[in-house]
Symmetry: C2
Amino acid sequence: MSEQDPLVIFTPSGKRGRVAPGTKVLDAARALGVDLDSVCGMRGICSKCQVAPGVGEFSKHGVTVSPDALSPINAVEERYDRVRGLKPGRRLGCQAQVLSDVVIDVPPESQVHKQVVRKRAEVRDIVLSPTVSLSYVEVAEPDMHHPSSDAERLLDALKAQTGHDDLDFDRALLPSLQKTLRAGKWLVTAAIHDDGAPVVVALWPGFYEGKLHGLAVDLGSTTIAGHLVQLDTGEVLASSGLMNPQIRFGEDLMSRVSYAMLNEGGATEMTAVVREGIGRLVDELIEEAGIERGSLLDATFVMNPVMHHLFLGLDPYELGQAPFALAVGSAQSCKANDLGLDIAPGTRAYVLPLIAGHVGADAAAVALSEAPHRSDDLALVVDVGTNAEIMLGDKTGVLACSSPTGPAFEGAQISAGQRAAPGAIERVQIDPTTKEPRFRVIGVDLWSDETGFETAVAATGITGICGSGIIEAVAEMRMAGIVDPTGLIGSADQTGTPRCILDGRTHSYVLWENGDRQITVTNGDIRAIQMAKAALYAGARLLMDKRGVDSVNRVVLAGAFGAHISPKHAMVLGMIPDCPLEKVTSAGNAAGTGARIALLNREARREIEGLVRKIEKIETAVEPRFQEHFVAATAMPNAADPFPLLRGVVTLPEVDFNTGGDGAGGGRRRRRRG
Amino acid sequence: MSEQDPLVIFTPSGKRGRVAPGTKVLDAARALGVDLDSVCGMRGICSKCQVAPGVGEFSKHGVTVSPDALSPINAVEERYDRVRGLKPGRRLGCQAQVLSDVVIDVPPESQVHKQVVRKRAEVRDIVLSPTVSLSYVEVAEPDMHHPSSDAERLLDALKAQTGHDDLDFDRALLPSLQKTLRAGKWLVTAAIHDDGAPVVVALWPGFYEGKLHGLAVDLGSTTIAGHLVQLDTGEVLASSGLMNPQIRFGEDLMSRVSYAMLNEGGATEMTAVVREGIGRLVDELIEEAGIERGSLLDATFVMNPVMHHLFLGLDPYELGQAPFALAVGSAQSCKANDLGLDIAPGTRAYVLPLIAGHVGADAAAVALSEAPHRSDDLALVVDVGTNAEIMLGDKTGVLACSSPTGPAFEGAQISAGQRAAPGAIERVQIDPTTKEPRFRVIGVDLWSDETGFETAVAATGITGICGSGIIEAVAEMRMAGIVDPTGLIGSADQTGTPRCILDGRTHSYVLWENGDRQITVTNGDIRAIQMAKAALYAGARLLMDKRGVDSVNRVVLAGAFGAHISPKHAMVLGMIPDCPLEKVTSAGNAAGTGARIALLNREARREIEGLVRKIEKIETAVEPRFQEHFVAATAMPNAADPFPLLRGVVTLPEVDFNTGGDGAGGGRRRRRRG
């Protein structure tokens, strides 16, 4: 282009260049690598390419734009404006021609690769780059003199418009192909899935006015959560969850593995029920969002290794025993049909890769969401559940392991434990002087010592303690000197409160009582929490050893449960390594977020596939130091690590309730603290 | 390699080169590009690489081979010989090392790309290069310190041994993967299908001793014929056929298309029954051949366009009307499961490409078998059936069309017509002087005027005339002056034989009578044959026009029916263009042969895919000259083309039985002969 040719400047990208006079804005954008959408092959129908040209002095860009810098509104644009309406000042990029220097703004809705801004400052935004896109084309009519099939002519038209020379056609669409082409009078809209090998996955007669949708599923052992997402905005249109119907074969994963081992066809049966369950979830989501089923064309799935194998129709037998060999662990890119899901004939599915025999695609999704591999500082990311998946890393490398925390954090194995549901004690405070507790219950906004609590709680009653409640209770007991660092609850005499009652050979702390009903924290409860948190900490500590560090810069707690844990209380227990409390953040359902990222951004799939290969996997079961870390971590916060930052903000009374007779061994551990 | 290194000469290829002393024979073969098989990864188990080294003076090759040119028989070879036996003089190429100059013969059974010699001189042999091959590998055991899935380690082992870097694993094998690996103690045999994208399609624990098999199916409108083939030899182990169960929806294709149009779900119903039928055929073939079902890993299919669409689950509606648009016509490479066939979990299927809306994959298969595109002289290839598929071409190009001959050649529309079955008249001779006929009947070796015929025919009776019989009868009547060139049968007076009897307004010729039972050739029969043969000839003539020729060098008659047609009689009728009679040959079931070639040689698939694109397709329905050729071709042999070569060997009396009253129009046509 010569200096005489008009200069085009696109905002917000700032990309600029000269084009021949008469060049269409869309062509100019493509030539300059500007992200401007288009579906209809420059026919002025889709309006995806609409732009907002500026007029006047643009000193920042050093140009003055005349009112006739673009060609006058033409008949196609007039018709579009009349029939569908165009915002004031907007032009169709496929119609407007550049005549002289011009500044053209590409509004967000005209960009293919829009950014979805996430609320949390520490994580990156999601760039929209979904696997499915639309293309509206005119297909050549059949000609007896040059016989070729309808599929061939459709592909020719799509290849010419999209540039996908290797485009293929999903066999499942063939039965409806000829009717669709004729219903559209040889004008059709194709949905093209492109995740390596582009393929036509849906077809509508004429111009398809609707949106494309995708599904992100977090397939947990207990619950299956699904989000239905609009692919061009990233917006979640509907979210729903259901209990994993496999629960009837066993509450936890190992009992399901046993079921498969002990019952001929048991694995097949569990595969069938979980697929049925997801099918129901899909139906619900489609109905709730009010979308056309045929527009739901992509789905991503994350889950732990056992659920992965059961979902894929594989017997999880080998995952029940060392060496925990996966049948397959790489990312699965296939049709939803291949996974027993009947969504639309062409719907695609992507199952994120597993990291190792104990570290699943859910952990991979957490990595995608929390991106430890992109972190400047050293981050510890913990997904707390029945198994804790733990990752430690930064830009220079990431380590991962899994640690068998057991279900104590979810309220199981706790005498008054229950799932997080209305009536459950979820927060606890204990006065260090009076040793008197106050608490909050799920479903009630007041603390138990506030006026009106009794009335407010009447609807649900006080039914038990959930996971976050027991963590706060034990941590508060530790800070109030009711339980000693080894985990022994003192007697009423030792602690000075009648709430400590003798309960068999040990003591319990009465959190609440009403008539003959009582909710207590028993010494058994403390032991269960100690085991769980020691496993979690030992896993983290093992990764720190491997990495050669004694501390981490920040801690991210992922998982629905992680969202409810108080960082201070978790650290008092010694669940997580010592670090500044404000550096402990919650990532919420990071696995679900990761599934959404993989749905919305196909490059993220390659990223996680690459990361999974590079992550250094540590198998806690065969690491000799794990046991040592575990033993030290049974103490609260820890018998080996000093937790100086924690001790700077909380007081941890160094009480000792071991009278030498009950063999709790606290004395020995305390000595090692030195 | 230096001149000091030993020289290795392989026979029969004659490939030669120097290798470092100690090089294994198999490695030497690979380095020199010699076709030497190997399955077991040089473990001395499969014996596929066995060779026969020579000793002594080889003046032809200019070397003298010492008895110790190869390393002594080693322990692996000794064990193989002891356990399984090795032919005298044979060595295992993966064990024997080259020490000095040597001549090594590769026996046919050790070659991957063996040639299957075909009986007919005019066609090429089939080179074996099947899509499926075996590979025996040792897979690394799982290691908790380096977690990776069983699938990944299996693929790693196979990639290393086969060099297929892009090898994939069929999802359908995943459920049995872990058990198979452990049953084989980490030694397994994999079957790899490679037709562009290599994929593991079957897996056996340990070394698989069996053979691999394939299926070639010719899916006709009337019958479905299948051949079960051993892939490493090309040998047909079992052949079977069944009536196409779709016949209950309509005898001919157009009535099936109508059924689909008139009945909701009719196409789906027809798809289901034909797939079921093929399923039964597969079961029969497996049982007859006595092979393991899991070894049947590839299948090829040929058929006409309507059967193609119905088999693929597509409504043939558009094929019932101009412009005869195919939904899809390109070769289909997929899983047998995708076509509703449950053979083995990994079995592949390949459907040959269609040529045009009327010219099917069966014609493509005929092209593969008869190879007009490789012919030095100009060949006309005709596949005779309800539709005739016609190809004309040589190395410089091929044209193709289809012509609607109707079912007359199959005995339908003929008054005494019947399918070719015992009791049917199949050959006819008429004495030109006495006008007396003699004939032969299917199931009897004697002619009707030979002693013992009456007794021999008693078992079946004389039940009617089959397709080849009616062609001979009409041609003999023409040569005996009983029917004139326009197709009019003369009266007893005109012909001088009382066998010509009045039959309504026209005459019939009594071929046989016994008491009150009679088999006659009516003038209506002659008309039906004239219409059918005129369509066939007009199609051929149209291709000759397009090619700009008046004659062809040779004619190939394909199809089961083509195998029974007498070239002379066909030419007397003017079914096929004039050419030396010895240049008219029968190709038998060339479509079935083409399906077998595509099964046995994967390069043939690329060849036919390329040829189908290059073939010039002629649509007879829209060619103005077709009608003109058709009218001229209703005369016998032809009202426009002189057939000089034919007239040089047979006498065709120029009788004329048109008395001006019956409007047969023969007079006008005769004048054009002028």
